[in-house]
């Protein structure tokens, strides 16, 4: 029997909520929840960067930090401190955000982005990127566009959008493909993959992400507009 989901279609993302201005102390902040995966992002900056040797006279230095809160995992407690996984995710998140930022507008400064997962049920790097791009916009950083992200993949022989943990751990072949897109140009700023898939299916899976990413960016924009309506 073909693979099917109990509560949603294969190409349907989980319910999404998004808010900005959730952390008073930060220059910009956002909350992005998709299904049970929930991410906070805070932006501090542009701010002074020390030691001065780290400063770049041409542009701001973007520093992105991804972390899972200790109680955020389905399984065991998440030990804190830098680990290979979180260091790599911080790196690819930074690269996913970089193309939309006008860092040249803020020479010699640092823009720090902190992403914390409150709870994670797969798709945490994508949720983190969605939250971070909203937080950057909320901080008033000059940007060309927002960035939206989602995971697509292949579970039980079927192409799916927005995998959850149970699906990542599915017995048999699973491909998990996190993607981030810049909606105005259609360019891809994050692309990773775990698991076997043919080239044709991979391209199909990426094309399935597109309408969902467009929907996510609408939700992100609405959240930003709602915030400014309320102030």
């Amino acid at each position: 029997m073909a693979y099917a989901r109990k509560d949603r279609g294969l190409l349907e993302p989980r319910p999404i909520t998004a808010r900005v201005g959730v952390i008073e102390n930060a220059d910009g902040s956002a909350f992005f929840k998709i299904g049970r995966t929930a991410a906070y992002a805070a932006v501090y900056g542009p701010r002074d960067l020390y030691p001065r040797a780290l400063q770049n006279p041409r542009r701001a230095v973007l520093r992105t930090h991804y972390n899972m809160m200790p109680f955020s995992s389905v399984g065991e407690r998440v030990r804190q401190g830098p680990k290979r996984r979180s260091i790599e995710i911080s790196l690819v998140t930074e690269k996913a955000l970089l193309p939309v930022l006008e860092l040249e507008a803020y020479p010699n400064t640092a823009i720090d982005v902190f992403i914390e997962l409150l709870q994670a049920d797969a798709g945490s790097r994508a949720a983190g990127i969605c939250a971070a791009s909203m937080a950057l916009a909320h901080a008033g950083i000059e940007m060309k566009d927002l960035v939206a992200a989602i995971a697509v993949g292949k579970v039980g022989g079927e192409l799916v959008v927005d995998l959850e943990y149970e699906e990542e751990a599915f017995e048999g072949e699973v491909a998990d493909i996190p993607i981030a897109m810049i909606p105005s140009t259609g360019e891809i700023s994050l692309l990773q993959m775990d698991g076997p898939i043919s080239k044709q299916e991979l391209l199909k899976a990426i094309s399935l992400a597109k309408p969902v990413l467009e929907r996510i960016v609408k939700i992100q924009r609405e959240a930003l507009k709602d915030y400014y309506k309320s102030v």
Partner: protein, 260 residues
Amino acid sequence: MFINKESLLKMLDKGLRLDGRGLLQFRNLEFELGVIDTAEGSARVKLGNTEVFAGVKLSIEQPFPDTPDEGILMVEANLIPLSNARFELGPPSVEAIEVSRVIDRAIREGKAIDLKKLVITPGEKVWSVSIDIVPINYDGNLIDVGCLAAMLALKNTVFPSVDENGKIDYKHKTNKTLPLREWPVIITLHKVGKHLLLDVNEHEERLSDCRLSVAVMKDNRLCALQKGGDKPLTMRDIDEMLNIAIDKSEELRKKLEVYS
């Protein structure tokens, strides 16, 4: 020889590269297996001036609680300062972590090793396979070269003997080899301006806009991807990079025909 990006782009427009290669041409490949006596398996790979050792050490460990019926696989790349002026002493850099994790992903997701066959007592004792990748001269493209060296080292690995108390006797090797069932090959393509480059050297790597690493299996299906670098990719770039990666993985496999 150093040139700036503008000059490199001018050369690439004419289809030229600093070392005289075509844009989609590998550097010269050399490799040998079984080069380290103290490792259970090893290989040396030299692609152009990037020269890498990979060594496999085996040990008996408790399995991870979430995979009681699987052996353990670990991959680590060590960017030692001996191999390049740019590398520093200290804990693994972000770059080293990314290289390690991308190669790990290709080998793990490609199911290169049948980890289920590495179980001694389920939930208690399993074989652990540690692959260490160490460049001794770094000149770009470490993900591809490192993955190749790791796979050759796995191919070369034999189990050490185990005494009646279950203790490993590293001095006495058996002739039992690892349960390998797939051979993922990573092909990384760099985008520089509008050009795609294969097997970049360090200088080209520094001037690259972005890259896509594609892990290709024997049947030409893909098992891992990693986009790197600052600039984004278009769907057309991705399509073209996947096609080239699949072609080039076949070309690389032919060079290894004796083994894979």
